[in-house]
């Protein structure tokens, strides 16, 4: 019985499912889920309420930014920029930017940032918020960082032939239809030698307990319906995807070398009220929230 319950929790791999249903090509695939857009549009005015609906995301943001900054800075230092400390001069794309929590941070760290979202309400909120900040408001005397928002999908940009040094799509895959097609569009937007950063939630009993049972139902810190368990993607599935379907990583069961990719679990510490990265290889590290960085081969 226990085994059956576990099997139920394991569920089918969302990245394979669609493949089996018959391949759609990137160009025609639409990955945007209308219900998800409606859901987030409804919540959009809460994006910047640090004590409200997106409190957890606000607290998670510094850890995600640190992970991204450190990976990118390390590669820059290894590749001829020994003094690099931030994202200065890079072109960055934030796919599914929501209210712009990550987008603003990337721009503050010096990246020329374009942020897109399929929800027009999100884009409005994000634009309104960033224009309050003199750093981004062209009419202020101290403005010197570039941040632009567009109501667009990743497919729109692929069609336009755009490519970026850094493409981020955090906490998005679990909200799209056809995640495989979505990942292909993300990958297509990365310049050769560029960085792709993804984060999502694993499809495990632990993740179900934390993100749906506790967060949505018991504690009520997230609006019910925000997460759909069956859309969660396991780290191993993501790795496999980038070994076979998009062959950026060497094949085989071994962990990818650290200069090409890194997978890290993220955990919330309720006592100190912040998120942290779990050590590499910690037990259950990749069983809930995790973040994934990898490079596109040149």
């Amino acid at each position: 019985m226990f085994a059956r319950a576990l099997a139920r929790f394991r569920g089918p791999n969302p990245l394979n499912l669609l493949e089996q249903q018959g391949r759609r090509t990137i160009a025609t695939a639409t990955t945007v889920n209308a219900d998800e857009i409606a859901h987030f549009s409804k919540l959009s005015e809460h994006w910047w309420d640090e004590q409200g609906e997106f409190k957890m995301l606000h607290r998670m943001n510094p850890v995600r930014v640190q992970f991204i900054r450190d990976r990118v800075v390390r590669t820059r230092q290894d590749e001829g920029m020994p003094d690099a400390t931030d994202l200065r001069g890079l072109n960055a794309l934030d796919i599914g930017c929501g209210g712009g929590l990550l987008s603003e941070s990337l721009a503050r760290l010096g990246a020329n940032t374009l942020a897109i979202d399929a929800s027009e309400a999100n884009i409005r909120i994000a634009t309104a918020h960033s224009s309050q900040d003199p750093l981004f408001n062209a009419s202020s005397s101290v403005a010197h960082k570039t941040l632009a928002y567009r109501h667009a999908t990743s497919h729109d940009l692929v069609e336009e032939g755009k490519q970026f040094d850094l493409v981020c799509s955090l906490e998005v895959i679990e909200h799209v239809d056809n995640p495989a097609g979505f990942l292909e569009s993300c990958a297509a937007l990365v310049k050769p030698g560029g960085h792709l950063v993804l984060s999502t939630i694993a499809r495990t009993p632990l993740a179900y307990f934390m993100t749906i049972f506790m967060a949505e139902r018991v504690l009520g810190i997230v609006t019910p319906g925000t997460h759909s368990y069956s859309k969660y993607v396991n780290a191993s599935e993501l790795l496999e995807f980038f070994r076979t379907r998009i062959p950026w990583l060497p094949k085989g069961p071994a962990d990818p070398p650290s200069h090409l990719a890194e997978l890290r679990g993220m955990i919330y510490y309720p006592l100190s009220g912040n998120w942290g990265l779990l050590p590499r290889g910690a037990p259950l590290a990749l069983d809930c929230n995790y973040i994934f960085w990898l490079r596109k081969p040149v």
Binding site: P62, E104, Q132, D133, P134, S139, S141, V142
Partner: protein, 660 residues
């Protein structure tokens, strides 16, 4: 167009006021012909739009150039990576050039002195300011003598018998001006293009920004500081400086903080109905121990009288700072009586039994009430200055000493013949070191008094208004533990860390999430200190028999049990080396102080078991908080002891209830 949905419900009403504010900005713009120095340095104002040229943008605006505000500025203005520095402005009402130019004579000391703990000093070293403090004007405290004014129960901290012959420094007495000058010098040396000081400038109002409802805009006007006005009236700008728009507005603006008022943060607390007399005391430094060796001048003394504690804090071999908390009436009477009477009374207050001190206080108050005020000075001010002669008070003290059979060779005698006795090189009695050196006189114009209150802001971060409070703007405490400034410096360190971390991660340093670690690290620590000090103050404010007994047993017990003392020192966050700070008292020196040693040791066993559980609990709290500024050494320890003995309720639960 979609901004409406963004406004909080209360805000539409502000719109009109905001519009008129804009009109004021525009007016300012036309009346100020040259932008001020800070903005031209960046060369940014020349090509900006009128609407934004009327405010200056800063990442952090600090209101208040006291020691805490200046320390925060130092911590934020980094000498490294200037290109990505935060833009920081500091506003101070007074003229800071007076602090910059402060050049006191070698043996005269300012009356505002703080004991800087080792943790605070490390922080100041880290921000490059301590090296600019004139250390020759500071004094290490290596030993403390603290005793009960009613029972004479005593506790000692410190190690005077290390093999090296040097004690371990517990804190360093430093004039506030010495520290402020060092901080200013540090900021001047950094000469950062992204940092601006606006002194002689007062905050006149703080309003939310026009469109950006959560961004505060600080309006300024020149303060009428008389000191410079007559020197160069033409240089004093008559126009107000441009308003500053702040990503983060920090209130380091003291007890009546305008930033706190803008943030709508309540404080709770109470006035102690007490004032602290401060003064610089002069004594003959040529003192000997009972062994005939030169006496340590690095000892601080504090006696808890029921009217309030009196402290002797050494500044040099012949100078010391007085902090004497007492009733407001008595403080005024002592100050009116003049420096010589004050000096005699200070000596008596460290030595005479409580009964006699009560008598002397009453004597002074009676004379003061009976005195007729006279006109003093040209401005027609009334004063009772000089209503009491030195010989009169000496006569009273002599009489009290005789009543207690204190003869001139006793350490308890404080009369002039006693002064000559000690300075003539005679070997003093064995207990001489229990009492501070006899004060000869008070440095001219150094005596003053300050009101005392305990207050704690209910929050350190404004909600949705981009503000934070530090230092006395967030909390004030009784000076008996000498912690006010140290708590403020701890705040600085924590807030600066939060700001630096957030900035390096591209976070908005004015956002609540970015700053949350600051109250998390500091609120409970500060609250613990404030309430411990508050309890000490109250506990020692009574003559009630059982309470005096309990507190005395507590003190003596801790003093005797090194293990326990060490544990408290550890809990209290002393430098890892608590062992060396705690000295075991030699039994023969106890003679004459605690008559009933049997009674005390039985009681001590009970007290000890009570303490250990308390100690563990506090240890957990302090581990949990794990900040670099733990509850400081002796005060925290004393408070813990007193708390255990008096059976007071758990601080923790009360704090938690009040906080959350």
């Amino acid at each position: 167009m979609f901004r409406e949905s963004f406004l909080r419900p209360t805000e539409p009403a502000c719109a009109v006021a905001i519009e008129s504010k804009r009109a004021i900005y525009t007016f300012n713009l036309t009346s100020v012909n040259a932008p001020d120095a800070s903005s031209t340095r960046n060369g940014l104002y020349s090509q900006t739009y009128a609407s934004t040229a009327s405010v200056q943008d800063y990442d952090v605006v600090i209101v208040g150039g006291g020691p805490v505000g200046l320390a925060l500025a130092c911590a934020l203005v980094s000498p490294l990576r200037r290109d990505s520095s935060l833009r920081v402005a500091l506003i101070e009402a007074s003229d800071l050039s007076a602090v910059r130019k402060w050049q006191p004579e070698g043996d005269s000391f300012s009356n505002r002195v703080s004991s800087i703990t080792n943790a605070s000093r490390e922080f100041l070293q880290g921000i490059g300011a301590w090296d600019l403090v004139d250390e020759s004007r500071t004094m290490a405290i290596e030993e403390m003598q603290v005793w009960d004014g009613v029972s004479d129960a005593r506790i000692e901290f410190g190690e005077a018998t290390l093999p090296s012959g040097r004690g371990l420094e517990m804190a360093r007495l430093t004039e506030n001006l010495n520290l402020q000058r060092a901080l200013l010098r540090r900021l001047d040396n950094l000469s950062s293009p992204t940092f601006t000081i606006l002194d002689k400038t007062k905050v006149s109002s703080i309003v939310p920004d026009t469109e950006r409802s959560t961004w505060p805009v600080v309006h300024l006007h020149p303060s009428q500081s008389s000191g410079v006005a007559h020197q160069a009236p033409e240089r004093r700008e008559q126009t107000s400086p441009l308003p500053l728009r702040a990503r983060l507005l920090v209130g380091a603006d003291g007890p009546s903080s305008p930033v706190r008022a803008f943030s709508k943060i309540e404080t709770y607390g109470w006035s102690y109905d007490a004032r602290a007399i401060v003064a610089t005391m002069v004594h003959d430094g040529n003192l000997l121990t009972s062994f005939g060796t030169p006496r340590n001048t690095t000892t601080a003394y504090q006696r808890f009288l029921p009217t309030g504690p009196i402290a002797f804090l050494p500044l040099s071999t012949t100078r010391a700072s007085l902090v004497w908390s007492t009733t407001p009436e008595l403080a005024q009477a002592l100050l009116d009586a003049g420096d010589d009477v004050l000096a005699r009374m200070v000596n008596a207050a460290f030595r005479l039994p409580d009964l006699s001190m009560r008598y002397l206080h009453q004597f002074i108050l009676d004379r003061w009430h009976a005195a007729v005020p006279e006109v003093v000075g040209a401005d027609g001010k009334m004063s009772k200055k000089g209503y009491l002669g030195v010989d009169e008070i000496e006569g009273e003290i002599r009489w009290r000493e005789r009543a207690h059979s204190i003869d001139a060779s006793s350490a308890l005698s404080s009369l002039p013949d006693a002064t000559t006795r000690t300075s003539s090189g005679m070997i003093p009695s064995a207990d001489a070191e229990f009492y501070p050196p006899l004060v000869g006189h008070i440095q001219a114009r150094s005596a003053a008094s300050f009101p005392l209150r305990m207050a704690h802001a209910e929050r350190y971060l404004g909600q949705g208004v981009r503000t934070a409070l530090i230092g006395d703007a967030a909390h004030t405490t009784h000076p008996l533990a000498g912690q006010g400034l140290n708590l403020g410096l701890g705040d600085c360190q924590s807030l600066a860390n939060a700001i630096h971390t957030a900035h390096s991660l591209g976070q908005d340093v004015g956002s609540f999430t970015a700053l949350e670690s600051y109250p998390r690290q500091r609120y409970l620590v500060n609250h613990g200190m404030l309430s411990a000090v508050d309890k000490l103050k109250k506990l020692y404010g009574t003559r009630n028999g059982p309470i005096v007994w309990a507190r005395s047993v507590g003190l003596e017990t801790i003093n005797e049990l090194d293990g326990l003392k060490r544990m408290f020192m550890g809990v209290a966050g002393a430098d890892g080396d608590a062992d060396r700070v705690v000295r075991r008292r030699t039994p023969d020196r106890d003679i004459g102080r605690s008559e009933n040693r049997e009674g005390i040791s039985t009681a001590s066993a009970e007290a000890a078991s009570g303490h250990s559980s308390l100690g563990n609990r506090e240890e957990v709290v302090s581990r949990l908080e794990s900040t670099s500024h733990g509850v400081p050494t002796w005060a925290g320890m004393l408070a813990s002891a007193v708390e255990g003995v008096a059976g007071m309720v758990d601080v923790g639960t009360r704090i938690l209830r009040q906080r959350f």
